[in-house]
Amino acid sequence: MKLCYFAWVRERIGKPEEDVEPPAGVATIADLMAWLSGRGDEYARAFDNPKVIRAAIDRAHARPDAVISGAREIAFFPPMTGG
């Protein structure tokens, strides 16, 4: 699946997007954040406080308990500040 990062999440991880193959058992958005956190210091720093990170599955807002199977694109970003 494709992962996209925005704003300071993108800056901390150091790239705007990447393709990943999470192992079986990574079932939800929260699982995916925990798995990503273990991939290196830059990820650990980005997901340091998972409560503030927002996510989207296939371009629609998704809660931490949302199931990720079948998702093509998952995005992580800070709370939005548009308008």
Binding site: F6, A7, A56, A60, H61, F77, G82, G83
Partner: protein, 161 residues
């Protein structure tokens, strides 16, 4: 209903967008236009510029969902939403919401509803540039509260009134 959602780097002209929405219609009795403008300071510190990052694809979809929601809540004849991205300097326009209806109450309410949701749900992030460096703007809890007031019983604005 005529609905248009547009994301662009370029400036927009509120007057011509309003004229476009009204053109050839005799049923519109009220048009509300809201323009959000880049201030010259953020939290008291003078601002050099602001850069808006967005999530292409999702931003249009998310704004479109809220335009549909507004249409279900109020009898609207037209909605235009334009949100800019990229680097903006103080005084430049950021966002435009235009709502048209037969009567002003519906046009005002729909414009306010759309702005409250744009602030908290549309995937845009502001980074402000000071003389000494750059920083991402923190989301405001007060903006969440303003968006939440539309989700009260009946889906109207009871919570705020």
């Amino acid at each position: 209903m005529a609905a248009m959602v547009r994301l662009q780097r370029e400036p927009f002209d509120a007057g011509s967008e309003m004229a476009l929405l009204k053109r050839g219609r005799g049923d519109i009795g009220a048009v509300v236009t809201f323009t959000g403008v880049c201030r010259a300071d953020e939290a008291g510190a003078p601002l050099v510029a602001m850069t808006l990052e967005h999530y292409p694809g999702m931003a249009e979809a998310e704004i479109g969902r809220h335009v549909d929601d507004a249409e279900r809540r109020w009898p609207l004849f037209g909605v235009t939403v334009i949100h800019r991205y990229g680097r903006l300097e103080p005084g430049e326009d950021i966002v435009l919401v235009v709502t048209a209806a037969a009567h002003r109450q519906d046009a005002f309410a729909a414009a306010e509803f759309l702005m409250d949701y744009l602030k908290t749900c549309a995937p845009f992030w502001k980074q402000v540039e000071y003389a000494g460096g750059k920083t991402w703007v923190d989301a405001k809890l007060s903006d969440d509260a303003l968006a939440d007031r539309w989700t009260g019983p009946g889906g109207r604005r009871e919570a705020a009134e």
